[in-house]
């Protein structure tokens, strides 16, 4: 009984973030099966893929058009397979015995989707600014799989009962230095992308907002109209402010815990503002979206870098329930 009771452990912080990643893959897989994906309209899968080729360098554009052509030849079957893979990745990450394999497979899959499905997030043709959806949500999925790589010592797995000290969840298998470098590289790239290409044009924000307003519920379309009015002619100001904010967030992980929390909190705020104001919740409410866009996954990434408060390890991971709880549980369950 003691042994059974000691096995009852709620997931630790790192494992909880892995489960959010699993839920994100699962959600994407389910959204991939929406009716618009199977219809011949502008939101059909082959057309969505082919549209991402525009503006990319010739070799990249050719490869994307080739993939769109292959998928277009067997559109329904390809869409079901793509959805099934994503559902399996989500379920695989959620089931502890297969978590490592699923997370490992999710990295090349995410990079493949980033290339063929998102046109490399537009980073090669100046369309990869965060306000325009860059550098692409699925790239963050790959980053999450790397920094949240399963680590029994910290995830409450059976191999190591005593988790070693760690300042934040992402410092698990990689270690603190490489994990911080990944964070800094991602947010520095976002800062640079904010200032490149068409994102700093005076009407870039209002045009982008107008582009995503179609098909949204009334309250969200109304919000978009107000945003477009407010941002009209202020593209450069918004781009500079966003670039500075991203640079601060990038440097934040190298600061002591208290200021680091402020910087990471700023990263969460920026992610959510872009997600709501610019991405319209990933346009899932309009139908036809295949993911929830970058906002939620950037928040998950930020939480993976949130410094632990007092205990470096995760005390909840090893907290077992009293033995009698298991017995009572069997009576009621």
């Amino acid at each position: 009984m003691e042994q059974i009771a000691s096995r009852w452990m709620p997931p630790g912080w790192r494992r909880s973030l892995q489960l959010v990643l699993a839920a994100a893959w699962l959600t994407d897989g389910v959204l991939q099966l929406q009716p618009s994906m199977f219809s011949p309209g502008a939101r059909s899968l082959p057309r969505v893929l082919a549209a991402t080729a525009a503006g990319n360098p010739q070799p990249v554009a050719v490869s994307i058009r080739w993939a769109a052509g292959v998928i277009g030849a067997h559109s329904a079957a390809a869409d079901i397979i793509l959805a099934l893979v994503q559902v399996l990745l989500g379920l695989g990450i959620a089931w502890r015995p297969s978590a490592r394999v699923a997370m490992a497979l999710s990295v090349p899959w995410a990079l493949g989707v980033w290339w063929f499905g998102e046109g490399l997030g537009g980073v090669l043709h100046g369309g990869g600014a965060p306000v325009l959806g860059g550098p692409g949500a699925v790239l963050v999925y790959a980053v999450l799989a790397v920094v949240l790589w399963p680590d029994d010592a910290r995830d409450g797995g059976p191999r190591s009962p005593a988790p070693p000290a760690a300042r934040f969840a992402a410092a698990g298998a990689l270690g603190g230095g490489p994990a911080k470098a990944i964070w800094a590289a991602l947010w520095s790239a976002m800062a640079a992308l904010s200032l490149l290409g068409g994102a700093r044009a005076p009407s870039s924000i209002s045009a982008a907002v107008a582009a995503v307003a179609a098909g949204e519920p009334g309250w969200l379309a109304s919000l978009d109209r107000h945003e477009a009015t407010l941002a009209s002619g202020r593209g450069l100001v918004v781009a500079v402010v966003l670039a500075v904010a991203c640079a601060v967030v990038a440097a934040g992980v190298y600061l002591p815990p208290r200021p680091a929390r402020c910087c990471i909190g700023l990263g969460i705020l920026v992610s959510l503002v872009i997600w709501v104001a610019m991405e319209n919740f990933g346009m899932v409410l309009a139908g036809g979206a295949t993911d929830t866009s970058s906002g939620p996954v950037l928040v998950v990434l930020a939480l993976a870098y949130w410094p632990y408060r007092a205990e470096p390890a995760e005390p909840a991971v090893l907290r077992a329930q009293p033995a009698e709880t298991s017995a009572e549980l069997m009576e009621v369950g």
């Binding site: 059974i4 009852w8 099966l33 199977f38 219809s39 907290r319 709880t325």
Partner: protein, 216 residues
């Protein structure tokens, strides 16, 4: 709704399998003495039947209003049970086993609520396979979808621990050694195939989430 018939038929087959398995568990295991456990099997079987009727309109055995009322009853029962368990677990960790059971019943309540939603909203005219209505609020459909998918992920993560608990002997822990008296060995009243039970829950959640995604 323009989803391929093959997809709808395939998912309906999965639901038929889940429903049949739940009925078999009820038949083989009755009476288990665990009201909640039996209700979960009964609730799943009913919901699987209703979901098959939504996915494959030709297989709808009851009118939509009847299914909506049945699902509402199931939802009420599970929410009541979840409230009862949550009250009982108030003094313990919300992440502990009692909290988990309360969440399990609450999730079954959400599943039944999703069925009420799917059976209640008005079908959009002119859409093929109009059984999948699309006139509802996308926010509601998405919220229900997220709850179900998070539940599937959470349940799958806890699968191994649930297996261990399912095979735990039933009985109070031994008293302190000084007062220990001879007592009968703990009964082993294991729950059959707990992994399959988790698989059924995950399948129900994913298929129902898919059906809700069609309504966005």
């Amino acid at each position: 709704m323009a989803h391929p018939a093959l997809l709808g038929d395939g998912l309906a087959a999965v639901l038929v399998a889940v429903g049949a398995y739940c009925v078999a568990r009820l038949a083989a295991g009755a009476p288990t003495g665990r009201g909640s456990h039996d209700a979960v099997n009964l609730g799943r079987a009913l919901m699987a039947l209703a979901m098959v009727g939504v996915l494959v309109p030709g297989w709808k055995i009851l009118p939509r209003p009847v299914w909506a009322v049945v699902s509402a009853g199931v939802a009420l029962w599970f929410f009541g049970r979840a409230f009862q368990l949550a009250t009982r677990s108030r003094s313990r960790s919300p992440l502990g086993p009692f909290g988990m059971l309360a969440r399990r019943d609450a999730v079954h309540g959400v599943m039944a609520l999703s069925m009420v939603y799917m059976e209640s909203v008005r079908p959009l005219p002119g859409r093929a396979g109009a059984a999948m209505a699309a006139a509802g609020d996308p926010v509601v459909a998405l919220a229900l979808m997220v709850v179900l998918l998070v539940s599937a992920v959470w349940q799958l993560n806890a699968a191994d621990q649930l297996v261990a608990l399912a095979h735990a002997p039933v009985g109070r822990p031994a008293p302190p050694p000084s007062r220990q008296a001879p007592r009968p060995p703990a009964r082993s009243r294991s729950r059959p195939a707990p992994r399959l039970e988790v698989a059924c829950h995950v399948a129900m959640c994913v298929v129902m989430a898919y059906m809700l995604a069609l309504m966005v």
